[in-house]
Amino acid sequence: MAATTRPRRHVLIVDDDRALRHVLASLLADAGHVVEQAGDGHEALRRLETGGLDVVLLDIGLPGVSGLDVLTRARASASPPIVIMMTSDDTPETLLSAVRRQAWRFLRKPFAPSAIVEVIDDAVAASAAMSIEVVSARPEWVEIVAPCTLEISDRIQSFVMQLDADLPVQVREAVAQAFRELLNNAIEWGGRLDPARKVRISCLRAKRLLLYRIADPGDGFDIDKLRHCAIANPVDAPLQHAIVREEQGLRPGGLGLMMTQSLVDELIYNEARNEVVFIKYLD
């Protein structure tokens, strides 16, 4: 079996739920990581002072010092670890506060403990957690500016989908897929995967619709020059785009727009096509 060797990291688990700490610690230790535990915010802060941590799994609802305050201190340290927040408090205000304080990801409790291994794998694979600027943090209007990296794409998608966690599963999954495809397009083609360039994302929630706007720093694209995309395929040649991509030396793909069109109710580009809005109606 072909598999990727998992790098070993130093993880601190901070939660006043002792049973949960032990379950997570066992899973992560079995996965090869070095794991420490802290039962409250004060203990976590003392441990953070000595440094050497790669990842912190941090409950928000801690006795004494709150998880959000521990997050702020952790991210302000000389070698800030990646911080993954855990909480059963799924209010948008809490989520946005965590994002603003540069939490790397947000896990809503209860979650399958076994999922933590994959989350830590993602954290390990991430470069030093890049900053996301939260321009607007109202639940009805979230606006984010972020560097053009695919790692950021995963993070933002994770947070944005948590904001819509109260919606039906089918709606959430459709929105999540569409959001991911368009954001990745913006980062890869508009931003050229350059972390020095920024993508701007707006997420609006009205009574009867969700609206997402993604603006990338690129020059846009020409709708008449999309032979490398499946939406330009002749009806009787559904694989033509793949052949064009091979000829042009592009990576396999070209299906994102076609997928997105089927997942959302409206898809609107600006004239240059470096900004896109998609809408999902809520019925």
């Binding site: 079996m1 495809e181 559904p238 694989l239 396999p252 299906l255 994102g256 997928m259 997942l263």
Partner: protein, 118 residues
Amino acid sequence: MRIAERQVGDVTVLELEGRLILEEGEFPLRDCVDRLVGEGRVKIVVDLRKVTRLDSAGVGMLVSKYLTARRKGGTVKFLHLTARADELMHVTKLAGVFEIFDSEEEALRSFTPGAAQA
């Protein structure tokens, strides 16, 4: 992305486990199929039951490796699509191109000359 490889006669069954998405999973799949085709093993079944996430890049890689095998006189067939994967195959019009099966037995049998397609 983990890939478990089994040989059943002259057919190679690849069981994918994990995420088949942009910058993750697509490259192991590419390398695996390219190696098989290079060895002349061009009858391939890809089992997607344990694929936890699939995006356009992942589907694009499935298309690419299907073409790779076809050019060498073989093919790639697909098995155990999740509901999400099945939906993506339909919206991208690939469901009319790929052979997709719900049972491994049917998938393997389909390689037999003259066998009825599932």
